[in-house]
């Protein structure tokens, strides 16, 4: 066991050093994150507590519902853990940089397996465990459980975490022997995105709003039948539920039996995994070291499209844009997010198609235009979020390769504008698709269609200007996962600025549009002073838009130029 502990020490010491570091900024960030986590934690607790209290109040099926919910919670955790373990073990067992050092040291394979097993389990489980705790504590509170429940829960949860780890690691070992490790990781990341999209779409298309519709109550009988059916007795979520529920609902049950089922399965998986590792691991690891001679699509169509769209730019901008577009489409972690984007647009438009406008007491004409107006703000918000993911990290995405830009005869301004134009066309297409289709579904007036299309068109320029400019003001060339950039401090600054910008535009346009509508409804022409105010409002919109484009770009270029050292 000594070797296993030794293999785990670098991680522990690094963690200790990070905690001990006196970097104030890091400390502030950690405290902010901690506060956020605590808020989230309390939120989960209150939410689950209220749901459970509500369930308890329902006669006959109350306990059944809580049992079902617990089983579902365990099943969800189990699925997430399984997925997370596969992804994590690909890194810890195959792609991690320290593996070369470890494999060259005289350490038995079994010890490496065990150490990496512990590392994988901890890495994949801590977050699920952390955010699962308020759920279990809420159960304890609602059922006024004794201290034994909490102790027993801690005992039961350990083998429950080991099982998906064992399964995930074994699955990874088999997969890596068939596919290269890097590709497997890409495939799994892609699968996880597709899974999220399917869940998201399914949930939306189930139309949860129908649950409050009395006409849908006929399904209650079928619902009750479904509740009574137990979940599969061969799944660990069922065992975990049966191991802790008797302590909550005070019935006999066989908690020890189900705990032993969990424990024996967990231990068996460690032993099986250890045995398999002696046969599969080394081959797979060697395979993952082989040169990755990647195949890339050399479709002339894409090449020609890039040449066509970039032909009017300077050679420098063209070179940067071509590089960025190609890099984007060759990086699975980047382009796969387009699926998420597509799902977002589909659901966005679907929401408009099912709006019961005709059932509203407010006149339809008025409501349609009002919603179309709100739609502008909402579309702006969606665009900001998309830009936060794609345009905001554009500068940081250069990463350690930024030395190429730093030493080339290109101005930082030119560099930033190339990023601006690379993001402009796709975001404009997205913006206009959202706004025109949603307005079409809303059947708005031609005036509103024109106004919102034009507003969103110009708003996109401002949003990208803000994203690129603020992204350049807070560059993080060392960040490993660009998806996390949006949640950084700079990302928050950008989102706040973007929200203020969109809010200002919508407010400045709402008032003149209201005046125009009123004059149309009342058939009274607008006074000269009103026309002046309307034009002033639109002028202000124009000025704000121009400021949103150029000001952040200028500040970003200045901050980037003033950087003491480039990577």
């Amino acid at each position: 066991m000594g070797k296993v502990t030794l293999l785990l020490t670098p991680r522990l010491i690094s963690l200790k050093n990070r905690i001990n570091s006196r970097d104030r900024w890091e400390m502030a960030k950690a405290i902010m994150l901690l506060l956020l986590a605590v808020c989230f934690w309390i939120g989960i607790f209150i939410g689950v507590y209220r749901v459970l209290t509500y369930f308890q109040g329902i006669e006959v099926i109350g306990d059944m519902l809580t049992r079902r919910l617990l089983s579902m919670v365990f099943l969800t955790f189990f699925s997430i853990l399984l997925f997370s373990n596969v992804i994590t073990s690909l890194s810890t067992f195959y792609l991690s940089d320290d593996l070369n050092l470890i494999h060259s040291a005289p350490v038995p394979l079994g010890r490496i397996y065990l150490a990496r097993f512990i590392e994988t389990t901890v890495d994949s489980s801590w977050m699920v465990l952390l955010f699962g705790l308020p759920v279990f504590i809420a159960y304890g509170f609602v059922y006024s459980a004794s201290f034994t429940y909490y102790l027993w829960l801690m005992v039961v949860i350990i083998p429950f975490l080991i099982i998906p780890a064992g399964l995930g690691i074994t699955l990874t070992m088999v997969l890596v022997n068939v596919f290269p490790a890097k590709r497997t990781k890409d495939i799994f990341l892609l699968l996880s995105i597709v899974a999220v999209i399917i869940l998201y779409l399914l949930f939306r298309f189930l139309r949860p709003e129908k649950l409050v519709d009395p006409e849908a109550f006929s399904a209650v009988a079928a619902y009750l039948t479904a509740l009574k059916t137990p979940s599969s007795p061969f799944l660990p979520n069922h065992w975990a539920t049966e191991a802790i529920l008797p302590l909550l609902q005070n019935y006999e049950g066989s908690p020890v039996f189900f705990f032993l089922l969990l424990l024996s399965t967990g231990l068996a998986l460690i032993v099986i995994g250890n045995y398999l590792s002696s046969h599969l691991y080394y081959d797979g690891w060697s395979k993952s070291q082989e040169a990755k001679k990647s195949t890339i699509s050399k479709t002339m169509v894409i090449e020609r499209l890039i040449t066509f769209f970039t032909r009017y730019f300077s050679p420098q901008t063209r070179a940067l844009m071509t590089k960025d577009i190609k890099t984007f489409f060759r990086d699975t972690t980047q382009w796969s997010q387009l699926f998420l984007l597509a799902a977002l647009v589909v659901v966005y438009l679907y929401n408009f198609s099912v709006l019961p406008l005709d059932r509203s007491p407010i006149p339809t004409f008025y409501l349609q235009n009002l919603i179309s107006f709100l739609n502008m703000g909402l579309a702006g918000f969606v665009l900001s979020a998309v830009a936060a993911r794609f345009a905001f990290p554009a500068v940081s995405l250069e990463g350690p390769s930024f030395w190429i830009i730093g030493t080339s005869p290109i101005t930082i301004r030119g560099f930033l504008w190339s990023k601006f134009f690379t993001n402009l066309l796709p975001l404009l297409v997205l913006a206009e698709t959202i706004i025109i289709l949603s307005n079409y579904l809303l059947k708005v007036s031609n005036f509103m269609m024109l106004l919102s299309s034009l507003t969103v068109f110009f708003m996109t320029f401002g949003i990208i200007g803000l994203a690129i400019g603020i992204g350049a003001s807070y560059p993080r060339f060392k960040v490993e996962n660009v998806a996390k950039m949006a949640t950084s401090f700079g990302g928050a600054v950008y989102m706040i600025c973007s929200m203020i910008f969109i809010g200002l535009i919508v407010i400045l346009e709402a008032w003149p549009v209201y005046l125009i509508f009123i004059s149309q409804i009342t058939h009274r022409p607008l006074a000269l002073s009103q026309w002046t105010a309307i034009w002033l409002s639109f002028f202000a919109v124009g000025v704000i838009n121009i400021l949103a484009i150029f000001l952040p770009m200028k500040i970003g270029a200045m901050k980037l130029s003033e950087m003491e050292e480039y990577p």
């Binding site: 050679p315 071509t322 190609k326 190429i404 730093g406 030493t407 290109i410 480039y566």
Partner: protein, 253 residues
């Protein structure tokens, strides 16, 4: 061609480089040597515009890198010691990208790219993604990219890192050939044999200061070494003289 005037860089209270003055002539191969942490990479980073000096100036081809960076950078081809490249581009695409950054005419760079790939023995890898390249191949690709715009100055940090003997010989020959055509080469290296073999003049830097400067013979004279003494012993003699004596060494068991 290159002038460093009173170049100083401070990190809080520590002086990484301290008033460096150098002048390098056109066509010269100049060696920049020094022990680890002496300030070589810091100097190079300032020369190519990746780092701002605390004081002092760098003039390349008559242009101050701080005041007229674009013109100065146009004259330079830079080869860093650890080349981080765009891994999702192919070798050819990377060279086209670099040609674009230097605003080279589209019609003329294709033949130049083929020529450079051929020269650095990368032709058969030209259409492969850079992520599949070995360290040595990446190094050779960066060297090709540094030559794409026919620079007047090549600044190179550790040219032989990651190169196999064949690659190293190739690079030496290429450097000698381009320098004979008038290109100035400023080279920082730890490989003393290469410096000795290739460089017209050598500067030795320690603790941020130039402690010796001159041709091989001038350096030998400085430590009263005989004609047949290699650069290694000259270098050690110079740096040991300059270094502060260590207070104590614990005996290694």
């Amino acid at each position: 061609m290159i002038q460093l005037i009173g170049l100083t860089k401070k990190y809080s209270k520590v002086k990484a480089i301290d008033g460096i003055n150098l002048e390098i002539k056109p066509g010269e191969i100049f060696g920049f040597l020094g022990p680890n942490g002496a300030g070589k990479t810091t100097t190079i980073k300032i020369m190519v515009g990746l780092l701002k000096p605390t004081s002092g100036r760098v003039i390349i081809d008559g242009n101050d890198i701080a005041k007229n960076p674009l013109e100065a950078k146009k004259a330079v081809g830079f080869i860093p010691d650890r080349p981080f490249l765009y891994e999702k581009l192919t070798g050819k695409e990377f060279l086209r990208f670099m040609a674009g950054l230097y605003s080279i005419d589209t019609n003329s760079y294709e033949s130049k790219i083929s020529e450079l790939l051929e020269l650095f023995e990368l032709t058969e890898w030209g259409d492969e993604l850079i992520e599949g390249y070995s360290h040595g191949m990446q190094q050779r690709l960066v060297m090709s990219s540094a030559l794409i715009h026919n620079p007047k100055v090549i600044i190179v940090d550790e040219p032989m890192v990651g190169l196999d003997p064949r690659g190293a010989r190739l690079v030496k020959e290429i450097f000698k050939a381009i320098s004979s055509k008038g290109t100035t080469i400023f080279m920082s290296t730890h490989t003393l044999e290469i410096a000795e073999e290739m460089c017209d003049r050598i500067a030795i830097i320690q603790e941020g200061k130039v402690i010796a400067l001159g041709t091989m013979d001038q350096l030998r004279n400085k430590v009263d070494a005989s004609k047949d003494q290699r650069l290694e012993s000259v270098f050690l003699a110079l740096t040991e003289t300059f270094a502060q004596p260590a207070e104590s060494f614990e005996e290694v068991p």
